[in-house]
């Protein structure tokens, strides 16, 4: 398995962290882990919501100093 890919989407209002993840996950391999960094609190909700709908795994979200780290595994 490749090392975890970090998607630095801090300060991204448009297209925004979820769009950055959608773009990055397409190029990843099944089983890869990705971590999205976001300064938008909304990411803590809208990224897991999409993961759930599309069928990738949400490995957990943590927050430090106003940055949300959303961890994801590509499942399909």
């Amino acid at each position: 398995m490749a090392e975890k890919k970090v998607i630095d989407a801090r300060g991204s209002f448009c297209p925004g962290p979820l769009m950055e993840l959608i773009a990055a996950i397409k190029s990843a391999q099944v089983g890869d882990e990705l971590e999205v960094l976001s300064t938008d609190q909304g990411s803590a909700k809208d990224i897991p919501e999409w993961l759930n709908k599309v069928g990738h795994e949400h490995l957990g979200t943590t927050e430090t100093g106003g940055v949300w780290h959303v961890n994801v595994r590509k499942k399909k």
Binding site: I7, A23, S27
Partner: protein, 377 residues
């Protein structure tokens, strides 16, 4: 000292002109050369494609001669780069020339990649090139009614284009008197109709008012061309009679093949705009991997920051300022009203209520594109 600019679109042109003005004494004395390599002798006003696609603009109106937009001190050639030799500080061009540089800026833009979704290239109309926009208009002309699906891939350039083309199609069918025979259905990758929250809040009720249906959290997976069905990664599907797509984009092949960045997006420092790991290679416009809008205004503000910094490096050996992530975009809110959003890495957009005055300013600004490319704005 050779400053090489690769790409003569929005970013490359503004940067080259900005530098030519700042470095006029150095250019005159022969201390500095500014060399621009591009793939075309013409410069396209890309927003014009939206109008070409609905028959409101002729293709030739979108172009200017690239040389005419550049300061005379810039050495311009149509000779696309085919190979980047970063360790040798040189590039190899299509004509076979090797060009050495001391500082290079890459602004080769992005392109739609419909081939990444099975069936999309055959099944959908697109409008991000002159040929496809003209073809889309001809298809629209022959369309007498049915379900039109507008679908959007990630990433794509110009975040406003999905909404704009949808509203323009609404007007187009209305003008033809067949709006009642057409169902317009819009799909979008995330959980609202636009990435900017305030824009989405305005656009969704506008869709409702105009009878445009929509589905969010919809990412194209494949097009079943025979049965005219578009399927999503999320497991839903939608039938169409006419499919109009803004496919996912990639950077240019030369970037991808040369190993400069996955999918053609070059890893770029978000404030200094240098290519990660290289201190004499800068990147601007669509081809960076910075998580901000792939838009002309982004390329414009990046070019201004880089112009100041590269000139300062020549004059005093060090850059003088950071790029703050600034993006500015006009948002057309129906036929005669518009608003705008301006934001950077630390300040979110806060669009004002749409007004007629901003609409007129937007129209004027469209015409001012060429002055802006010349670096006069």
């Amino acid at each position: 000292m050779n400053i090489l600019i690769v790409g003569g679109g929005m970013g490359g042109t503004i940067l080259a002109n900005n530098l030519a003005r700042r470095l006029n004494p150095e250019l005159k004395s022969g201390k500095v050369r500014i060399i621009m390599l591009s793939a075309s002798e013409r410069h396209m006003y890309q927003p014009g494609l939206l109008y070409v696609a609905v028959g409101k603009m002729m293709p030739d109106e979108m172009y200017r001669d690239q040389r005419s937009l550049l300061e005379p001190t810039i050495e311009f050639s149509v000779d696309p780069v085919e190979q980047f030799n970063l360790d040798q500080n040189s590039v190899k061009t299509k004509s076979g020339a090797t060009i050495k540089y001391d500082i290079m800026a890459i602004a080769t833009g992005s392109r739609m990649a419909p081939e990444t979704i099975p069936g999309l290239a055959e099944g959908a109309e697109t409008f991000y090139t002159e040929d496809t926009a003209v073809k889309m208009f001809k298809t629209l002309q022959g369309f007498q009614g049915g379900k039109v699906v507008i679908t959007v891939g990630v990433p794509h350039k110009c975040p406003m284009a999905p909404l704009e083309i949808t509203f323009m199609l609404n007007d187009y069918f209305k003008e033809r008197g067949i709006r009642d025979k057409v169902q317009l259905h819009y799909t979008y990758p995330i959980g609202r109709v636009h990435s900017l929250e305030n824009v989405a809040k305005w656009a969704a009720p506008e869709f409702d008012r105009l009878g445009i249906t929509y589905e969010t959290l919809f990412n194209m997976k494949e097009v079943d061309v025979a049965n005219k069905v578009l399927r999503s990664e999320e497991g839903t599907d939608t039938k169409y009679d006419l499919l109009i797509a803004i496919p996912a984009h990639r950077g240019m092949e030369v970037i991808e093949k040369g190993g400069l960045g996955q999918n053609g997006w070059i890893p770029t420092n978000r404030t200094r705009l240098n290519m990660e790991g290289r201190n004499n290679v800068y990147v601007l416009g669509d081809t960076t991997n910075i998580p901000i809008s792939k838009a002309g205004s982004t390329a414009h503000f990046e070019a201004e920051a880089l112009g100041e910094n590269i000139a300062a490096i020549v004059k005093v050996g060090t850059p003088v300022r950071d790029y703050d992530g600034k993006v500015f975009c006009f948002i057309q809110a129906g036929k005669d009203k518009a608003t705008y959003a301006s934001f950077n890495y630390s300040n979110p957009p806060d669009p004002k209520a749409p007004s007629r005055a901003i609409h007129w300013f937007k129209l004027a600004y469209n015409k001012l594109y060429w002055s802006s490319a010349r670096g006069l704005l």
